[in-house]
């Protein structure tokens, strides 16, 4: 166990180091001035430029520059945005929780709807209900997420006028950001009409969550179904049947747990898709998350923002992925390293 933990910590640190090197080299790769890309400060005159270059060690070898960059990263000094002039750390601190919130709720939908449906379809495999579930999951899985979000906007926001079009919460409510999660913040705050604000935030959340959650749910159904069918064909199930266990006993004692094992590593892959989909859907709903922020940054060629945003998002995704993978390895030591199941 300690060996596994050590292995994964080394992997984690090395990956983050590679990402930090990539993010540092982006300052040189992006068009424009290195100093401006690195700091986000546009120097007014030559004297200030030289002072800044000395301050950020740009007159020294790359190695020293990189270590200074790392030190700044850890100190929370991430530079300033070209467009807003605000410290990037503050901007990301607001945008990141918004994305995590959206992604979490979508993942919840995928877990609480997708896995039970997948179990049901897998246990009744090759029956009519299985075909219906399987067909609808393939269909949902094939929806381009941006088009699905557009259709939801067209139908529910514009035609039926049931849900708000954009944003996180109506401007009437002033919520103090504490945790960054809007629902938790509303519960924590001491405003008068808490329930109204909560309802409003929930109605803003519904459409984007459905748009992202639908695709994740569909792939979760497919993964679970395949895993259950594979588990049902194992010899230990035949042994359990011949010992005279009832269908429910076999399901709860053998299939339920064994089918969950291959799902976990596939979930790690799902996280990447989930974050990509969240980033795309955010732009459509003007959700103030990191995806929307990054896309605005690329439209305005805000290079410091892109450099740090890339580092932040990939750190988030890799932390989640490696944690899930490590978890999987800890609960299932028999598994060979990094062996993934098929859908």
């Amino acid at each position: 166990m300690i060996r596994i933990l050590a292995r994964y910590s080394i992997l984690f640190v090395l990956t983050l180091l590679v990402l930090a090197i990539m993010s540092f080299s982006l300052a040189y790769l992006f068009p424009g001035d290195v100093l401006e890309n690195l700091t986000g400060i546009v120097p007014a005159n030559d004297a200030q430029r030289q002072a800044l270059e000395r301050q950020f060690r740009l007159d020294q070898p790359y190695f020293v520059q990189f270590f200074f960059y790392l030190k700044n990263l850890f100190a929370g000094d991430w530079g300033y945005s070209f467009t807003s002039g605000i410290a990037l750390r503050d901007e990301i601190g607001i945008a990141m929780p918004a994305t995590i919130e959206l992604a979490t709720y979508s993942m919840m939908i995928a877990l609480f709807i997708g896995i039970p449906l997948g179990y049901y379809a897998g246990m009744r495999c090759y029956s009519t209900s299985d075909y219906i579930i399987n067909t609808s999951s393939i269909t949902t899985y094939s929806f381009p997420v941006f088009w699905l979000a557009l259709l939801l906007i067209l139908v529910f926001s514009l035609q039926l006028d049931k849900a708000p079009l954009s944003g996180r919460i109506s401007l009437l409510f002033d919520v103090e950001p504490v945790s960054g999660f809007i629902l938790i913040d509303i519960l924590l705050s001491d405003m008068q009409n808490k329930s109204l604000a909560f309802k409003d935030a929930l109605s803003h959340l519904t459409l984007p969550t459905i748009a992202i959650g639908a695709v994740s749910t569909a792939s979760m159904v497919r993964i679970t179904r395949r895993s259950v069918i594979d588990a049902r064909h194992q010899p230990y199930i035949a042994a359990a049947v011949s010992r005279g266990l009832s269908g429910w006993q076999i399901f709860f004692r053998h299939i339920l747990r064994n089918a969950l094992l291959p799902i976990l590593p596939l979930m790690a892959i799902q996280i990447t898709t989930l974050i990509t989909n969240t980033m795309i859907v955010e732009t459509l709903f003007s959700w103030p998350g990191i995806g929307n922020w990054l896309i605005q940054a690329i439209y305005q060629r805000d290079y410091p923002a892109l450099r740090v945003g890339m580092l932040a998002v990939s750190t988030l995704v890799i932390t989640l992925t490696i944690t899930v993978d490590m978890f999987n390895r800890l609960i299932d030591p028999s598994r060979e390293k990094y062996e993934h199941a098929a859908i």
Binding site: L11, L14, T15, V18, L26, L29, F30, P31, T135, I138, T139, Y141, S142, F143, P144, V145, F146, W147, L150, L151, L154, L158, A268, I269, I271, T272, T273, I275, T276, M279, I280, T283, G291, L294, I295, I298, Y299, R301, Y303, L306, M310, V313, S314, V317, I318, T321, I322, D325, K337, Y338, E339, H340, A342, I343
Partner: protein, 297 residues
């Protein structure tokens, strides 16, 4: 010793024939294959099938509704967009651009991924550990992020978005090739080839590669559907194909400006992407279950 064969003819279908039989048994899969063939025909013969040029404007017919609506006309089957371009023509050219670029992307990613994966699968020790873990970690970086970085460095354009998607697809091929090579290397037929004195290159080309084609076909269909969605998503976000180029995502984002007036400008290109991806997924699913049936029997 029987003098004659009990059966009229002894015919053993080849593995691919058996796969095809199992595939044909599923009606849904065949329907998907037919739909995919239609899209491929669209892609190959777009100039012959379309009545207008992809960027040909008709000033007298702006935002003509599709032909099945009340005031639509048959001369524009899917209607026209805000510049008077025929939507049917643009959607067919869009299939050509999107499917074609997705196909090239997947082939490139497959070539690079399989060679890297074969190397990683045959390595041992620390080098193998590095070659194993790095692609897995890179696999976690979202496609959109890679695309944003590439666009920031090289600028927007279809070709740049194709590079981004190729980069994002490679780790998957590396991963699957590597795990397949590792499991095959432990099997007896490889050991016997090794005892015959085959070197690693011969082992890979003569013994492992033929066993890998099926996995590659299945992974290729999965990658193709991902590539189509990603290319159109980047086109939609204006990070990939730029506006006059008929790429399905770019057509969709053009149509977004006139959603209220002409909803078909959003609905039809979106449906084209949806059916394209659906047909690829259905064919991939059918292939997978056909291969599974063949292996199990």
């Amino acid at each position: 010793m029987p003098q004659y064969s009990l059966y009229e003819e002894e015919f053993h279908p080849s593995p691919w024939q058996r796969t095809w039989r199992a595939f044909r048994a599923s009606h849904i899969a065949v329907a998907g294959a037919v739909l995919l063939c239609v899209f491929v025909v669209f892609a190959l013969f777009a100039p012959l099938l379309t009545p207008y040029g992809a960027n040909e404007q008709n000033i007298d017919g702006l935002l003509v509704p599709p032909s099945w609506m009340g005031n639509g006309s048959i001369s524009h089957l899917f209607g026209t967009d805000s510049l008077g371009r025929d939507l049917f023509t643009r959607v067919i050219y869009g299939c050509r651009v999107t499917l074609g670029s997705a196909f090239i992307t997947v082939v490139l990613a497959m070539l690079v991924g399989v060679s890297l994966g074969a190397f990683a699968g045959m390595l041992r020790g620390v080098r193998s550990s590095i070659a194993n873990h790095l692609p897995d970690a890179l696999m976690a970086i979202p496609t959109l992020l890679i695309a944003i970085i590439i666009v920031a460095i090289f600028g927007t354009g279809l070709v740049n978005s194709m590079w981004a998607i190729t980069l994002a697809l490679i780790p998957q091929f590396v991963h699957h090739t590597r795990s397949l090579v590792r499991t095959e290397m432990k099997k007896d037929y490889i050991v016997s080839s090794k005892l015959d004195g085959a070197n690693k290159w011969q082992l890979f080309t003569y013994s492992i590669l033929p066993n890998m084609t099926e996995m590659l076909v299945v992974q290729g269909t999965i990658a193709l559907s991902i590539a189509v969605i990603d290319i159109s998503a980047l086109g939609f976000l204006n990070l990939g194909a730029q506006s006059p180029l008929p790429e399905l995502g770019a057509i969709l984002s053009d149509g977004l400006d006139v959603t209220y007036l002409a909803p078909w400008n959003v609905a039809l290109p979106g449906m084209a992407i949806f059916f394209l991806v659906l047909s690829i997924n259905v064919v991939g699913d059918g292939l997978r279950s056909a291969l599974r049936k063949r292996v199990n029997h």
